[in-house]
């Protein structure tokens, strides 16, 4: 099939699929957090960045081999994520009562930038020389794909599928869904909402950490690496629906990845991100007016017969 496409477009398609899987997994994790806890979790950027930094620290500072270090990185992301909920969001939301969403949003951004500044104080402001196993290139027709790309796609797909299965088949997963659909009722039914929230943040931390580790291996590890990533995460989370199955993040994430990469085939590179946002705005605008669009109706009202 790749013979039908020109080399660049084929490469962009491969890039888009790889990138899309990343966006999908990130979006699924964020959707879980937003859907269940209603926290506007901007510090997702922080948990994302922490993972490769912690892994690097384990490798460079403690001399650990790559894979244990990667696990340490994941653990750090999970820990930071859970701590954020327990130590920041939950107290702030409780204090802010019905203004919780905005209060959490603002605090989240403040804490996230502060956390990233702390990382910079410790590790410097530049990129980290973070690398593990050797990178091997594979050919896919005229496109190239590396082993990291493939591993990253596999990881993302497994994470999303595992999350979906977790929600569907485990008792904890079912509690999460109960809280997602009605936290008040869930609390009445004896489900520990706080505990469920913490589980969601742990999962989101895990996903962001895993994504960041692969991204770090593929590209670079630097303090600002989470900035645009988290925005893509939000985009996927909302487009896929924050209260629907994580599997829905897959087509949305991959669609976004493809859109972003393909756009660069026809537009100057500077336009590609802008194109994504414009499409997103248009889509939301469509959502907003969908219910109010004049729908084609029969010219003459058809009276309903009495039964």
């Amino acid at each position: 099939m790749h013979d039908l496409l020109d080399g660049e477009l084929w490469q962009l398609t491969v890039n888009g699929l790889v990138r899309g899987a990343l966006y999908a997994a990130l979006g699924a994790g964020l959707a879980l957090v937003i859907g269940v806890t209603t926290r506007f979790h901007f510090a997702y950027a922080l948990t994302y960045t922490v993972a490769p930094y912690a892994a690097y620290w384990a490798m460079d500072g403690l001399g650990a081999p790559f894979w244990p270090s990667a696990l340490a990185g994941l653990a750090a992301a999970v820990a930071v994520s859970v701590l954020l909920e327990a130590g920041v969001y939950e107290p702030v939301a409780r204090r802010a009562a019905d203004r919780a969403m905005l209060a959490v949003l603002v605090t989240s951004i403040g804490v996230s930038t502060a956390g990233i500044a702390l990382l910079q104080l410790k590790f410097g402001t530049g990129s980290l020389p973070f690398y593990g196993p050797d990178q091997v290139q594979h050919r896919l027709g005229s496109a190239r794909i590396s082993n990291f790309d493939l591993d990253q796609v596999a990881t993302c797909l497994v994470l999303v599928a595992a999350l979906a299965a977790f929600l569907a088949f485990t008792p904890v997963g079912r509690s999460i869904k109960a809280v997602r659909s009605n936290p008040g009722l869930a609390a009445v039914l004896g489900i520990g909402v706080r505990r469920v929230n913490l589980v969601c943040f742990a999962i989101a931390g895990l996903i962001s950490g895993a994504c960041a580790l692969w991204y770090g291996l593929l590209y670079t590890v630097q303090p600002t690496m989470g900035d645009s990533t988290v925005i893509y995460g939000f985009v996927v989370a909302f487009l896929a629906g924050t209260r629907s199955s994580p599997l829905r993040a897959l087509p949305v994430g991959i669609g976004l990845g493809l859109l972003e990469q393909w756009a660069s085939n026809w537009l100057p590179l500077q336009w590609t991100q802008t194109a994504v946002f414009i499409v997103l705005t248009a889509y939301l605008a469509f959502l907003a007016v969908k219910d109010r669009l004049p729908r084609p109706r029969p010219a003459r009202p058809v009276p309903l017969e009495k039964v």
């Binding site: 802010a96 969403m101 603002v106 403040g110 502060a114 985009v235 802008t274 414009i278 058809v302 009495k306």
Partner: protein, 566 residues
């Protein structure tokens, strides 16, 4: 150095004030306003900086362009829930900044820089001190406009939208119009501030108006206090000054001061959110002089009960014919025919899910029927906007009350009083005392209705502090204050403490005795028996029988279908 920071603080405070009008009063969270300020800034730098326009003219263009953008985003925002609104405005702003950063004529990623020598009223704006007066004037102007709007009947409507847009619309307010209006006004104001900000900076660049600015402004609004404009100014100045102060404090030859500063800023923000989540200055309820009790007693609108016209002889005020509505495959209403006669009470009864509330929604235009017509005093209501239906004389209450929580009882009822000039921008910004006089009259009228339902003593109580029964009474007062001819009362006595039921019944009867027409949905047959002149029985979205309650309960089939269960 400090003067320069003061310029910045004043301008950011002005930005925060206008965003607070949108976020704090109207409850519409927009991240896009920083980008709108950017549009204003670019307009000024492009026109005045590159093309030699007079500064004032370019500012006017900035305001115009951003107001138009505001209308656009307001239109999109109408149908979105809060979280989608945040996302949409985020995407919108990133899109705008992205577009600005792409055009070579606008300087691409580096923007337009080196804009110099702007003049305002013949004075060249050169040093930071020169900018102090324009910045202060703009802040004063923005504050005055926002305060005038926010603390007026217009602002009350905005708060109503924030608390419950559906309920506010049911009081006859064109909530869509208000939303678009407030987006346009606040966008225009941010465009003006952006024009000043860019002038002061001497440049318009994408990074100056990016996400960090949006968040800084949000932090100001939240820290200062929602719906408290003075708080926004205070927070704007404090938060802007934190950076230079921290820098002075950390001025030791620290190679990492810049990062430590960011850490401290984040921690301070978190602390404020934990220690004082309502902001430095919380929202205040509006003070309205409550008329003295004796004045109230005289003004009580309750007239002598006129001689009652028998039900069959009364005029038909409202007539619904053949109303049907399907949602997907479900028939919610089927061929409803209903007549409401002047000065009478008609009850809709039937099992749960029979479509009684849907019938109300169809009558009031909240749900547009697939077929059928509704005429009020001969005028067709189908196809009319719900707020116009209310103004035409058909008001409703809600089963779940839906008072506007953070507004006082008096404000809740005042909001329903129609025709207040202060709800329109024209009169608001016309000199004279017309608005405040009308406002006092509206307060007096609202007070009379509170008196009527016996809730005058709670006038200054926030609605969320009322008991359920009290809330229902206030909601009745609110419906009455719309001056609508026909009132649709959705379960006025349900869930109300037994002690309140009698009061409620007396009230409804008094409303009828006033010559108004009432239609109520009620489960409690004792209530229906006591009040209703005429009763319609609904099942499966259809009115299957009507007559007096005794006639209906006499029917064996109905008794089995519904009444039997009682």
């Amino acid at each position: 150095m400090w003067i320069n920071y003061l310029d910045q603080a004043l301008l950011l405070a002005a930005l925060a004030v206008s965003v607070n009008l949108l976020v704090g009063y109207a409850g519409q969270v927009s991240v896009a306003h920083a980008a709108f300020a950017g549009v204003g800034g670019y307009a000024v730098c492009f026109l005045a900086g590159l093309h030699g326009w007079p500064y004032l003219a370019s500012l006017a263009v900035a305001v115009l362009v951003t107001a138009v953008l505001g209308v656009l985003i307001g239109l999109i925002a109408l149908g979105l829930a809060e979280e989608f609104l945040i996302l949409m405005t985020l995407a919108f702003s990133l899109g705008i900044i992205g577009v600005l950063a792409t055009f070579d004529a606008l300087g691409g990623v580096t923007g337009i820089t080196g804009v110099d020598g702007l003049r305002l009223f013949g004075k060249e704006l050169d040093t930071p001190a020169d900018w102090l007066i324009p910045s202060a004037v703009v802040l004063a102007l923005v504050f005055a406009v926002c305060r005038r709007i926010g603390e007026s009947p217009y602002g009350q409507v905005l708060k109503g939208i924030r608390e419950d847009a559906v309920a506010t619309r049911a009081l006859g307010k064109n909530t869509f119009g208000y939303k678009i209006g407030i987006f346009a006004i606040t966008s225009g104001l941010t465009g003006l501030v952006g024009g000043l900000y860019s002038g002061w900076l001497g440049q318009a660049t994408p990074s100056a108006y990016g996400f960090p600015l949006a968040m800084a402004v949000f932090a100001m609004v939240i820290v200062g206090g929602n719906a408290n404009l003075a708080g926004s100014i205070a927070a704007g100045i404090v938060l802007t000054m934190i950076e230079p102060v921290l820098r002075q404090v950390l001025a030791v030859q620290s190679t990492q001061a810049a990062l430590v500063q960011v850490v401290l800023y984040g921690v301070l923000l978190l602390l404020v959110m934990l220690v004082r989540p309502q902001g430095l200055f919380p929202e205040r309820a509006r003070k309205v002089a409550v008329p003295a009790p004796e004045a109230r007693a005289q003004a009580s609108p309750r007239p002598e009960p006129p001689a009652r016209t028998p039900y069959d002889e009364a005029d038909v005020v409202l007539r619904a014919e053949g109303l049907s509505k399907r949602f997907g495959g479900i028939t919610a209403a089927k061929n409803i025919d209903l007549e409401l006669r002047r000065g009478t009470i008609t009850a809709l009864v039937g099992p749960n899910g029979a479509g009684k509330t849907t019938a109300f929604n169809l009558l009031t235009g909240t749900v547009v029927p697939d077929t059928g017509s509704v005429t009020l005093n001969g005028a067709e209501l189908v196809g009319m906007r719900p707020d116009l239906v209310v103004r035409a004389g058909l008001a409703r209450t809600f089963q779940d009350v839906r008072l506007l929580n953070r507004l006082t009882c008096l404000e809740n009822v005042m909001l329903a009083v129609p025709g207040r000039p202060g709800e329109r921008l024209g009169p608001l910004f016309t000199p004279g005392r017309g608005v405040s006089r009308a406002d006092r009259e509206a307060a007096a009228e609202a007070m009379r209705w509170l008196e009527f339902v016996g809730m005058a003593d709670e006038a200054a109580t926030p609605a969320d502090a009322l008991s359920y029964g009290q809330a229902k009474l206030v909601s009745l007062a609110r419906a009455l204050a719309t001056r609508a001819d026909v009132l649709l009362l959705d379960e006025p006595a349900s869930g109300v403490d037994a002690a309140w039921v009698e009061t409620m019944l007396a009230m409804v009867a008094a409303v009828r005795d006033e010559g108004r027409t009432v239609c109520l949905v009620e489960h409690n047959l004792d209530v229906v028996r006591q009040l209703a002149d005429h009763t319609c029985f609904m099942e499966l979205g259809e009115i299957t029988a009507s007559g007096t309650l005794d006639e209906l309960t006499g029917s064996a089939r109905l008794a089995e279908a519904y009444f039997g269960a009682q």
